[in-house]
């Protein structure tokens, strides 16, 4: 479905953030990108969604293919139209809009009101805690609720692939678990694939496959079950070295 081939990403023509990054993602799967701060997880997602260029970065080498077609030259909104949706890091809700209006923004490209309404009901069923808050401005929501809203808003566009950037950032452990359970449920019910950049190893409990990044490169990859006990994972982002284990 998605393949990233040996990309190099540069910010402001100076900072090399990705140095030959490759990954593939099959339909109906959850793939995890693991790594410590600055390892290039976010940049990988931005390279796929096209947001990289909006932030003064560019791909100097390599290509990104979605369904066999190159998408690395497209604008972010064109990529979004293909069904690849990026949930940005740190709860990027529109604070001045209500929850309902935020969800409607997610369905911006769709016209069928009946379908939009039923999708909205479905989002509320995934995240029941949002239901009583529909007409509240999203700026007043708690961190967990904003993260749920960001994901729900993305679902409103009926994406085929969701790029999730650190959904656990700044949330309490209970809420993190809750969100990951729902993500798994969405994957099975909606046939949506996920590429999740995450520091928290809990992501491996729902992922099918994982990549471990270090300084812009994949240092290790494999089935999620295998990665969970892998030494390289601990080394790369828990900061525990081999002789300490």
């Amino acid at each position: 479905m998605l393949s990233v081939n040996n990309i190099k990403a540069v910010y402001a023509d100076v900072v090399l953030a990705l140095d030959g990054m490759s990954l593939t993602l099959e339909s109906d799967s959850i793939v995890a990108l693991l790594g410590s701060n600055g390892s290039g997880k976010s940049t990988t997602l931005k390279s796929i969604s096209g947001v990289l260029r909006v932030e003064e970065g560019k791909l100097s080498e390599g290509s990104v293919e979605f369904d066999g077609k190159r998408i690395d030259k497209l604008a972010p909104e064109q990529i979004a139209r293909l069904g690849v949706r990026h949930v940005l890091q740190g709860r990027s809700v529109f604070p001045q809009l209500t929850i309902e209006e935020n969800l409607l923004m997610g369905a911006y490209l769709r016209k069928n009101k009946q379908e939009i309404k039923s999708d909205m009901e479905r989002v509320y069923s995934y995240f029941p805690s949002l239901t009583p808050l529909q007409t509240r401005k999203s700026g007043y929501l708690s961190g967990g609720e904003q993260q749920m809203l960001s994901i729900g808003r993305t679902l409103m566009g009926r994406p085929r692939l969701i790029l999730l950037d650190e959904p656990s950032l700044g949330l309490a452990p209970g809420i993190i678990e809750n969100i990951f359970t729902i993500l798994n449920q969405i994957k099975t019910e909606q046939k949506t694939s996920f590429l999740i950049a995450e520091q928290n190893s809990i992501v491996l409990s729902i992922a099918d496959y994982g990549y471990v990044l270090q300084t812009g490169k994949v240092v290790s990859s494999g089935d999620a079950v295998m990665l969970r006990d892998h030494n390289a994972v601990k080394e790369a982002y828990l900061g525990i070295f081999r002789d300490e284990i």
């Binding site: 969604s49 949706r85 949930v87 604070p95």
Partner: protein, 353 residues
């Protein structure tokens, strides 16, 4: 206002602009007040209402223009320092069409609005490439460029401007005098307020707010940010062009020197003080600032404020500057936020704080 405990039970009611019976009553009272407003005697005691009604008419036109600025700057977040130039373009379109081409005023009015909208659309083109501060500079440049261009041609009256712009007339009934103008302008105002209120709760209005609040997130939802900016400028231009057309017809004269950079700053201040991005905020902002300006100028010319005639102007500027600083630091959501707070307290009563 709805009392605590009253819930909207279906989507139609939630979406309705006038959801409750109280709102209909409030609207009816408001319309009656508007109809009676010109018959309130002014401070000089006569109902011929020179200063008062003249001010009201001017304020109505400014409100229409500022509603347009509210779309561009308040909703879409593109700082526009050239809004006065959009009004000027509308005004000159009206003037040229009615004097040189001999069109009736009412036929020229939609053309004035449309042409301004299209020109605003071209001003938006640099804004697509630029961000924040630089958009402001680009629109400022447009103000001076458009003034320069208009003064270069004889058809636009060169530096002298144009005169004898006709008033509208309906089958021989001419709109003359402050009172008739008041009732002629009022439907335009109501229409523009309704359009503006509808924009902010429609798909396009949400898109404006989305690109203002987080343009990257908006893009990743498939919104073409450039296109939305162009639309914002176009809609804002329509309002400004309409206001300009009405203005030049009402004044019957137009010169480029009326449309100063200073006016652009006043319009921005009106949005800030009223509450940016909200229709009611724009209306309240224009009325309150124009009122302060008017009261001070009356006090100045009647000798209540000592000193030369310019003293009251300086006092106006000082108050204006202070008001903006105070509002930005203490009430960044503007005057209208005070009203929203009152409403919320009423709804929550007796549980509010």
């Amino acid at each position: 206002m709805t009392v605590r405990g009253r819930k909207k039970t279906d989507y139609a009611r939630d979406l309705a602009l006038l959801g409750t019976r109280q709102r209909w009553i409030a609207l009816a009272i408001f319309l009656v007040v508007l109809a009676l407003l010109p018959f309130i005697p002014d401070w000089s005691g006569d109902i011929a209402l020179r200063g008062w009604l003249r001010w009201t008419n001017e304020t109505i036109i400014i409100i229409i223009a500022v509603l347009g600025l509210n779309v561009i700057t308040g909703m879409a977040g593109q700082v526009n320092l050239g809004h006065t130039a959009f009004i000027m373009v509308g005004g000159f379109t009206m003037a040229v069409l009615t004097t040189a081409a001999g069109w009736p005023m009412l036929a020229a009015l939609p053309i004035a609005a449309l042409l301004t909208g299209i020109i605003a659309l071209f001003v938006a083109l640099p804004a697509i490439r630029l961000k924040g501060f630089y958009v402001a500079i680009a629109t400022l440049a447009f103000l001076y460029i458009s003034q320069f261009i208009i003064t270069q041609f004889d058809i636009t009256g060169a530096t002298d401007g144009l005169y004898q712009i006709p008033s509208p007339s309906f089958w021989g009934f001419k709109i003359k005098g402050y009172l008739r103008w008041y009732f002629f302008l009022m439907p335009f105002l109501i229409l523009c307020i309704m359009i503006s209120a509808n924009i902010s709760r429609s798909r396009i209005g949400r898109a404006f707010i989305a690109i203002r609040d987080n343009h990257i997130a908006a893009q990743s939802l498939g919104i073409n940010v450039s296109w939305i900016k162009i639309k914002a400028f176009f809609i804002g231009g329509l309002f400004a062009g309409l206001a300009g057309g009405l203005l030049s017809s009402r004044n019957s004269v137009i010169t480029t020197s009326e449309f100063t950079f200073e006016n652009s700053i006043w319009y921005l201040g009106m949005i800030i003080i009223g509450g940016a991005g909200r229709t009611a905020g724009a209306v309240v902002g224009v009325i309150s600032l124009s009122l302060i300006r008017q009261i001070l100028s009356v006090l100045g010319s009647s000798g209540v404020i000592p000193g030369s005639s310019t003293t009251s102007i300086y006092i106006t500027y000082t108050i204006y500057g202070l008001a903006i600083i105070l509002f930005v630091s203490f009430k960044p959501l503007g005057l209208i936020s005070i009203w929203h707070k009152i409403k919320l307290n009423y709804r929550r009563w007796p549980f509010g704080v």
